[in-house]
Symmetry: C2
Subunit: 513 residues, 2 copies
């Protein structure tokens, strides 16, 4: 299947690869050619920032982690002993803002350029943490290790997906072993940046050690650069629980990439107004950032934003809405005010891979890209408000992401592009099919889709009148059928297997902080 | 059905309607809050413009209309008598650019504010001229007058569709009567700006007279303001045929709104490079503009742009591609260089109303909106490269357009929006559902979708696991079931019916220029 091979990592040859603009770019980093579009005025962004600082100073954030609270007090915060509410002095927050890096690189294997986070870079990550998986044949079901493994393969396959993620929960694996199995799959099937859940110190440490084994790194080398990433969510409104704070501390201590994401649903866990929800998001982020930067100033961190709205009639979350786009663009402005990379999300509410799933996801995608997102989590495969990781949806989303990536390529118009001679040589009413100018660009002129069917109605009917979703099913299966894992040195593979076996024997790691 | 009533013209109440920003806006004009995003550098746009002027001067455009050629020669153009190739002096073109208005209003009935074209305004028009119609029950079939009439009703229903268009061809009506029937449907079922095809002087004059009857206008009043709109296409590359030139002349003489749209498919009827295709588009537009402004300097005109690319393997056109977005944004820049409103298009290649149809259409929509389009033709209902007008697609597109319209509403953050007191009053880990701040905004806080289903998977399954396309079918049928035509004064209605009867008796008007 030609369409499938097009997306194959390392075999994909884009039209602009030979131009100066992109040839110098590392393969794993996309640069967004659009300047971030401001949605709110600078005055309004300043007001939201000031509001967040006031929330931190006057109402405080509940921090459910003794060591973190003690550290904050040591640095000038006040704590209410009864309810663990920490009030943050403005200077302490601003100190954290100052020490957090604006850009950094993440490293995978020797063969690949690092992945850049920050500036104009745009990194696409697949759906993370969906409890269910689905495809057309199997329908919706609890995620399994087989599902997770298949997602790892698909993510590895497509160049446009730059890093691995949590995709679906392998619910057939006990939770104390789950991190071992998912990390093993990531490191043996893929050479992209791996991911670990912040489900307690033990699981995070296991994850770090497995990455060190697979990449052949000493503890010291590992501490110096980013080799793995993770996310913590605040428990909105205004709570940071112990698992999340422990994740902050572990990732900061080891210098690994931490995305801090408040989950501020406007109208439910955050105010019903978007500026109010953004204020709370910003305050919760800044609280976590302050802890993070106190542990290790300069540790790599990303401003996670996931403000959306709810259906006011049911309280259910909605994604890819106009308010979502507004909140995303405002979040980008707030992240740039802090001076750290910004993470947004692809998302939708739809329960199946239909037109709604596509238009909601693309609304979210444009909000992120116009806002200048540096990391787009849930960019491929997210369905049903994030409850399901869909194999067909991943292919649909990859098509949208590849189109966006193509659109990002900066254009510089040359005389050859202007084509005066070609225009002069074609008769009025004629066509350009046979022109040298056309033939010389036959293979490279236009983006070639992985999923879109451009055949005419007659051909499409003859081919079975398949929807994009049905074709996506065939494509994902075809990729899995021919997938070849990346080569991992035999000694590292053996060590990795042995580590997993030993840790399982030891009982794994419960997510108990 | 609540969702249906939401979109009902005159009954729709948007969240921001009571705010100062939008209350002062006329109902029929949307203002795009995003500044146009430049895609090409100013230098590159200047180079494309200069290239177009060179094409006009050196290679020329074939003008298949004796009177127009004579007029051009009279004003300094040179003509090759053998092949009717007209070469345009730069000064003549620049004179046309200078006299064309940058903004103008179009008028409908006394009850409604005029529709503004130009500046930040964004006018949405449905699909135009599809030979086929389709819906889930009937499938794809040649368009009929019943289909056309049903589309007129749907367009009238939704506020977000600002003007009428050609929707589908009523192939069951002889072509010499077709303009009479379609105009009659527009004027008796709708009070939105009507549309007529440029299929010869006779049809255009009939259309103009019917509008005068329906709106109660003298010939003199009609000439003073815009009351109807039309489109001409160039026969790319570099030909303007007699019907198209006659349309230019008729619309200019009567001061009605003319959209001049080259149909420059990159790789087929235009160069395979987007800057080359844009150069040809720009040259063809400027040639037609020059004729148009010579007929009546200052006549209202819109820069139509429809550059897309073809599938190089089959030569078939593709829409909503990255190249399409690039061409759209570049076209917006070129239209602003000329200083006239810009028309772009919603479009897709998909053969059915699936995820592909949605993502292609939304790509086109964002290209138009970011580029600052003043008129978006084919914004609702376009399917299968424009060959089919789909009833379900119209509903899907209306949802996307309504979301976009909501996103356009400019936001000014107030202290109330910042919600500090609400944030302070909700306990950490609590929720905002019962807060006064929430309840006061319960009905107006968020956009309410017309099509999107935000119910959870269980509810969605219980409701029959309907896709967006299946729900769109129910919605469009429900609107038609309850549609009430606008009131047209009895004497005007009688005069309109009599005019149609008389013209039919006289044999209608063949499209013979």
């Amino acid at each position: 299947m030609e369409a499938v091979q097009h997306g194959r990592r390392g075999r994909r040859r884009r039209a602009r690869e030979d131009s100066e603009a992109s040839a110098s770019e590392p393969r794993t980093t996309l640069m967004n050619c659009f300047s971030p579009v401001p949605f709110y005025s600078d005055t309004d962004i300043d007001a939201i920032h000031a509001n967040a600082l006031r929330i931190l100073q006057e109402t405080g954030i509940r921090i459910l982690h003794d060591k973190a609270r003690a550290m904050l007090v040591e640095h000038g915060a006040s704590v209410d002993a009864d309810d663990h509410l920490v009030r943050f002095p403005r200077e302490l927050v601003e100190q954290a803002m100052a020490s957090a890096p604006s850009e950094f690189d993440a490293y995978t294997t020797e063969e690949h350029e690092p992945v850049r986070f920050g500036g104009r870079s745009a990194v696409f990550a697949p759906v993370g943490g969906a409890p269910y998986a689905s495809d057309l044949e199997g329908g919706k079901r609890p995620g399994t290790l087989e599902d997770y493994t298949n997602f790892v393969k698909l993510v590895q396959h497509f160049d446009v997906l730059h890093v691995q993620s949590a995709m679906t929960e392998p619910q057939d694996v006990p939770i104390r072993f789950r991190h071992l199995e998912t990390m093993h799959a990531q490191l043996t099937l893929s050479d992209k940046l791996p991911w670990v859940f912040c489900r307690g110190h033990g699981q995070v440490m296991d994850g770090f050690e497995m990455v060190r084994i697979a990449r052949g790194l000493s503890e010291e080398e590992f501490r110096e650069k980013v080799y793995i990433w993770g996310v913590i969510n605040t428990n909105s409104p205004r709570v940071l629980d112990s698992l999340m704070v422990q994740g902050l501390i572990d990732f900061a201590e080891w210098g690994q990439m931490m995305v801090i994401t408040p989950f501020t649903l406007s109208g439910a866990m955050a105010p019903v107004t978007i500026p109010g929800a953004l204020s709370q998001q910003h305050a919760e982020f800044l609280a976590a950032l302050t802890i993070h930067q106190l542990v290790r100033p300069g540790a790599p961190v990303v401003y996670g934003a996931f403000t959306s709205n709810v259906d006011m009639r049911s309280g259910a979350p909605a994604f890819g809405t106009p308010e979502y786009v507004r909140a995303a663009m405002g979040s980008g402005q707030l992240a740039r005010k802090v001076g750290v990379p910004w993470r947004s999300s692809g998302s939708c509410t739809s329960n199946c891979v239909d037109a709604q799933a596509a238009y909601e996801t693309q609304m979210a995608l444009w909000g992120a890209m116009l806002g200048g997102a540096n990391l787009l989590l849930h960019a491929a495969g997210w369905l049903e408000g994030g409850l399901t990781a869909s194999f067909e949806k991943l292919i649909v989303d990859v098509e949208m992401l590849q189109q966006m990536a193509e659109l990002f390529q900066p254009q510089k118009v040359t005389d050859e592009d202007l084509a005066f001679d070609a225009i002069a040589s074609v008769e009025p009413g004629g066509h350009y099919f046979g022109e040298d100018h056309t033939l010389a660009r036959y293979d490279t002129a236009f983006y070639t889709p992985v999923l879109s069917d451009w055949s005419n109605f007659g051909q499409w009917s003859e081919n079975g009148e398949k929807t994009a979703t049905e074709r996506a099913n065939e494509i994902y299966r075809s990729i899995l059928d021919t997938f070849e894992p990346v080569a991992l040195a035999a000694d590292r593979r053996t060590a990795l297997d042995a580590f997993v076996a030993r840790r399982k024997e030891e009982g794994g790691a419960e997510p108990d902080g």
